[in-house]
Subunit: 306 residues, 2 copies
Amino acid sequence: MIEDILRRTMRESYASEKDSGFKCLNPELSSVVIVGGKGQLGGLFGRMFTLSGYEVKVLGSQDWDRADEILDGAGLVVVTVPIHLTNGVIERLGNLPEDCILCDLTSIKSKPLQAMLDVHKGPVVGLHPMFGPDVASLAKQVIVHCNGRGEDKYQWLLEQFGIWGASLCNIDAAEHDHGMTLIQALRHFTSFAYGLHLSKENPNIDKLLQLSSPIYRLELAMVGRLFGQDPNLYGDIILSSQENIDMIKRFHHCFGEALEILEGKDKQAFVQSFNEVSDWFGDYSTQFMNESQNLLKQANDAIHRG
Amino acid sequence: MIEDILRRTMRESYASEKDSGFKCLNPELSSVVIVGGKGQLGGLFGRMFTLSGYEVKVLGSQDWDRADEILDGAGLVVVTVPIHLTNGVIERLGNLPEDCILCDLTSIKSKPLQAMLDVHKGPVVGLHPMFGPDVASLAKQVIVHCNGRGEDKYQWLLEQFGIWGASLCNIDAAEHDHGMTLIQALRHFTSFAYGLHLSKENPNIDKLLQLSSPIYRLELAMVGRLFGQDPNLYGDIILSSQENIDMIKRFHHCFGEALEILEGKDKQAFVQSFNEVSDWFGDYSTQFMNESQNLLKQANDAIHRG
């Protein structure tokens, strides 16, 4: 009761602050239910909705016996559970109010989007926040959205993300999943394989760091940071589609072909191949040089301050 | 003549400023000759020596008919030419004054160090500046040194680098070269192979960037920046030893083995392997997480400002 009053006060106070980073765009919305709200990403979105004055309920993995009660009258349901559980969880959401918006935060989009469209007759949108739960704020972070059904009904939700600072990127679900074979699966797996290789070579990390230029320190940090995180998440992402595995196989094959240039000690072939790739990158290689230049300076400063 | 006076005035003025970043530690030294001083790295070191008041002469690839004249009475000779030319150039330096210090800046160390010891009877030291010629200053940059002969005679030179802000790292030449198979050869080649693979897959870079989380933007920038640079330099570094090629082959093999886990869709094996690598990284994975966290924030800010 007191919570209700507090929440309403918060909501009104936010709604009245037009420039607030948490302004509530849909004060009439009934509850927001975060399915998987006890996870890190679910927790982050739960906090954001709460700060904007929405009523947030959590449906955790232990709460399914109370699911009907929690989902009763929901205005927005956000599914954010491990990838391999996503479709199974979506299938249990067949009784949502017809005007309820159903969305998910999974890092693959085609299958969950289809599953949501199959189970729910109302508005559906697939979302992929391109950041981890450890961001300080959503400012400048990218949220990808794949339209499902009833775009006009969930337009306010995308705008709400914008209020929180996020940049929206609209893309077809299949195109998203194809891009992720490069952006997620291949990169994560390459870092994994590099870490595995390092552990077998077993160099002294301290000595490596002493010898390292800023760029290698950074590259080593990018690999090392992977192994401070959840193996299940990365396993799920990489194994989420055959398309991912095929992409990784093509990279391995390409690497093997390039290795043949080395085995023949053919520097001219290396330079020619290098120049062809430079042409493909075009102006981007210069842009990346400049972008990374500044960053390496900051990296160097940061490392030596530490 | 006027130049001589100017130089002497500069030298004295620097020598008198004890806290100056360019204080001259060896004002009695006769000339510094930079062999390859028209290259970018040679140019950087030439400027540093000049700013500290040393007399700097350049022996470029077109100057060998005047070599005796240029090298006459040299107090320090710095060899900084493309890797594949290094040993040939060193062999031409058999007539240096006996108290002259001979050093090189090559990114491999065993072979050039041996070549310098063979050709010159005086003080010899192998150097490897762990940074590119585009650094704004030497502050906090690492210079690796491999002792050759007459350490007490070139101690002032190492201290001079320290005055310029650099950190010194002493290491055995063979150990250095082994570390570089990981730090340079494998990383450069992996970036090369990834760029080659991307150019074959031919995705729309703009679309990839739109979809990218900060970490992938950074990784893509790290790869793309390679292709804005000199293919000959990277070809030379990678092809400089069989040890490099063997290291790259072992990585390729390790990647192939890890790929088998994926083909079997064996998530448990992936998680187990991942955990073993995490154990190997130990506390470093957390340290790398924190280090990269800050950096990713800066990257994100930098990218969105741009």
